[in-house]
């Protein structure tokens, strides 16, 4: 199990961080999220070419740099602390994980397109319930020369900038979950979009008997649920990295605030009560940091260990994140309630992330259900 970045990984992280500090500061970000597109093609292009990070966590056969889950983690960490809204998670982690399991040229081309910054994915898996269904209501019927897709997907993110959509659906007469691909501008795709509290766009996507070619079914043959679950676990592990980045920023901003703000004749940072609470936040942060490495390390394990390990990590890290975010707002006092400092935006992203791909309760249920003693897992 890797618990520290390699020297090379550390350098990459520094490069991303420096780029975001210059080009994705608070004001630049506000401009992006309030622009009509609500994402930045320039930034994405820089990710692809100036930073070259879009293929960092992908294998070489997929045009990537041969990295893995730890690389995804470090990117998500850096993106998290700058509150980047562009769809790295959807495209390079979750979407790419599905594409890597697909056979045929379509998937291969798309992976190359991802690395080159030309392909961006939106993931349409949620429906009207609380979580991603393994038996979606959305269905794909086999028809002459391909498929006919119908259904409604809910809370799809990344659509304004996505070139393609991955859709989970019950396929054919068997009714197993399969994963389909279609262009974002495919005729017959109807969107109703609105903002999210973390500065992104969420869409309800309606597929009204859309005709798709035969190779639109990326993952079929009964493998859809398994492949998609693996991809979600990889995304969940990557979210752990994002959470760590958000926490680091929350603590740093809070410490800086307490060190410059005076009350009752002293700097807030000199009040012992606040010192001890910051210490607890820092302890939570360090645990989360260590466990994000663990989650990344387990993202490749067999499902019987991967699922509870990733679930345990997301649950523990989400608990840390919630604690740190709520405390950071509290310690900022009224300033924590405004939309003007980064703190409120970090809080909102933390609020969303906590439930993204499963709430703490849901993940803890997976841990209980696995019933397994985790002794020795952290060492492997």
């Amino acid at each position: 199990m890797q618990y520290h970045l390699s020297e090379e990984q550390g350098q990459i992280r520094d490069v991303i961080t420096a780029y975001l500090r210059d080009r994705y500061d608070h004001d630049s970000r506000l401009k992006i999220v309030s622009s009509p597109e609500r994402w930045s093609p320039t930034v994405w292009n820089d990710f692809a070419h100036e930073l070259g990070i879009l293929g960092l966590g992908l294998p070489e056969w997929a045009d990537g740099l041969g990295g893995g889950a730890v690389d995804h983690m470090l990117v998500m960490d850096a993106l998290g602390s700058a509150l980047v809204v562009e769809p790295y998670l959807e495209t390079c982690v979750l979407g790419a994980a599905v594409l890597m399991r697909a056979e045929g040229d379509v998937a291969r081309h798309l992976l190359a397109g991802i690395v080159a910054g030309e392909v961006r994915l939106a993931i349409a898996d949620l429906e009207d319930g609380p979580m991603s269904p393994t038996v979606p209501f959305t269905s794909a019927a086999r028809v002459e020369g391909g498929w006919r897709l119908r259904g409604v997907k809910s809370r799809v993110t990344g659509l304004p900038g996505a070139t393609h959509i991955l859709v989970t659906a019950r396929a054919g007469d068997e009714g197993d979950m399969a994963v389909f691909l279609l262009a974002a501008d495919h005729p017959g795709v109807a969107l109703v979009s609105g903002p999210t509290i973390d500065g992104r766009v969420s869409s309800e996507v309606r597929f009204e008997n859309i005709s798709l070619s035969a190779d639109a079914c990326l993952i079929g043959g009964g493998r859809g649920a398994e492949v998609f679950a693996e991809a979600v676990d990889r995304a969940t592990a990557a979210l752990c990295g994002e959470a760590v980045g958000i926490m680091r920023r929350l603590i740093a901003d809070t410490l800086a605030y307490l060190e410059q703000r005076r009350q009752f004749g002293a700097f807030l940072a000199d009040f012992q009560v606040l010192q001890h609470r910051l210490a607890d936040m820092q302890v939570e942060y360090e645990h989360a940091q260590a466990m994000a490495f663990f989650a990344a390390g387990m993202a490749d394990a067999e499902p019987e260990r991967r699922r509870p390990a990733v679930a345990a990590s997301k649950a523990r890290i989400s608990r840390a994140l919630r604690h740190v975010a709520q405390e950071a707002v509290q310690m900022h006092g009224a300033m924590g309630m405004t939309d003007e400092l980064a703190i409120g935006h970090l809080f909102r992203r933390a609020t969303v992330l906590e439930n993204q791909y499963g709430s703490i309760d849901r993940h803890m249920k997976a841990v209980v259900k696995a019933g397994s003693d985790t002794a020795g897992w952290a060492a492997d």
């Binding site: 609380p130 809370r155 509290i197 969420s202 606040l274 509290q330 006092g333 003007e340 969303v352 249920k365």
Partner: protein, 393 residues
């Protein structure tokens, strides 16, 4: 009248007077729609029930404690909007400490719901630490000339009047030079600037005073004695029965949501999930304990004891308020991601996800302020410890 008859009477009135819009309008403590709130205030006032706890001479109802409790319960049951909390703060202060002229001028419109008041305490650099107040009032003949800035002023942009604390002297202890003024928001020199808050909405404001002339007749209490007035007023914050009733109402909303929200497995509702049900019961029991403490405070034979409990009620009331939103947010799950604040303001927009979800997210985010505004939890703990040291357990 028997309590039972009284309850029936209240219920019948609410049935008739509350429009469906009033019952379902989005709210934090107040309705987001101030006009609608004031419309409700006027209906209550029309029935003589807008200020039941005021002395009867000033329009109070003279109800027994039981009747008062029944009234609060029925308001919650009917999902009635709360009236402006400032009504319960400035009213009793004017009754106790205002001049005859002030009473004559302000109590009527306050009671009838014709004017809206805001509270001007906080300043940049003087939030929890009121003694650090810097907005200055200098006496010029029959006026004070006020210069400075207030911040975090809820609904200043919709208010007709402000009650506020200003500095009239820098001598002695910092608390000593503070004066309590009533300010007409239409006075020249006042600028209100919106602050967008963490929920993306506009409740809060900065208020700038630039050579604002406030007649000396608008001073409550003596010059430099504003601290006493301000403290009197703080005792009338929503820490009592009304505050608990509001929490009950919020808990009811969460309960309703959880009874219809599908659980994580998608094969039942959240309310039937044992972990969720336990969490909700935990909040319910915390609220029940708080209510017990409120009743104990209300019935305290010693007024000192009652006032000592107010810090505890503020502390735990605000924590429970947050716990309710937290549980609500759990019932809402990933639906909470959607920013439907526009829909809260423009109610013709459709709601995505469970009904009541957008309000819960609003309460979760804006509710972080519960432990910050009105004396932060840290300040309350300091006060409680001092009292413990002075009076013993």
């Amino acid at each position: 009248m028997s309590d039972q008859d009284f309850r029936a009477e209240v219920r019948a009135f609410l049935e008739a007077a509350l429009t469906p819009e009033m019952r379902t309008a989005p709210r934090t403590i107040m309705l987001l729609d101030v006009d609608l709130q004031q419309a409700w205030h006027k209906r209550l006032a029309g029935r003589g029930w807008a200020v039941p706890t005021w002395p009867e001479d000033y329009g109070g109802t003279g109800w027994s404690r039981e009747q008062q409790a029944i009234f609060e319960e029925e308001l919650v049951r009917a999902n009635a909007p709360a009236l402006s909390p400032n009504l319960q703060m400035i009213g009793p202060v004017l009754i106790a400490l205002g001049s005859d002229e002030q009473k004559a001028r302000h109590l009527g419109p306050l009671r009838s719901g014709e004017v809206v008041w805001c509270q001007g305490y906080s300043e940049p650099g003087a939030g929890s630490d009121l003694a650090a107040l810097r907005t200055q009032a200098v006496r010029h003949g029959d006026d004070y000339v006020v210069n400075g800035q207030k911040i975090w002023t809820s609904y200043a942009h919709r208010s007709d009047w402000m009650f506020c604390l200003v500095r009239t002297s820098s001598e002695g202890k910092p608390q000593a030079g503070i004066t309590f003024l009533l300010v007409d928001m239409k006075t020249p020199g006042i600028t209100v600037r919106p602050i967008h808050s963490i929920d993306g909405l506009h409740h809060l404001n900065e208020v700038f005073f630039n050579d604002v002339r406030v007649p000396v007749a608008n001073r409550v209490g003596a010059e430099n004695d504003g601290w006493t007035v301000g403290k009197y007023l703080l005792q009338h914050e929503r820490n009592g029965v009304a505050g608990a009733a509001y929490l009950r109402m919020r808990l009811g909303h969460v309960r309703a949501l959880a009874a219809s929200s599908p659980d994580d497995e998608g094969d039942g509702v959240m309310m039937d999930d044992p972990i969720f049900a336990r969490r909700l019961a935990e909040v319910e029991v915390d609220l029940l304990a708080l209510e017990c403490l409120i009743h104990r405070a209300d019935a305290a034979p010693d007024p000192g004891l009652k006032s000592r409990m107010s810090s505890m009620l503020k502390l735990r009331g605000s924590e429970i308020e947050q716990a309710i939103s937290e549980v609500g947010r759990l019932a809402l799950g990933e639906w909470g991601r959607l920013d439907q604040s526009l829909g809260l303001e423009d109610r013709t927009l459709p709601v995505a996800g469970p009904q009541g979800g957008p309000e819960i997210m609003l309460s979760y985010m804006m509710g972080r302020s519960a432990t910050i505004f009105g004396g932060s939890s840290e300040v309350q703990r300091g006060i409680i410890f001092k009292q413990l040291r002075q009076y013993g357990v």
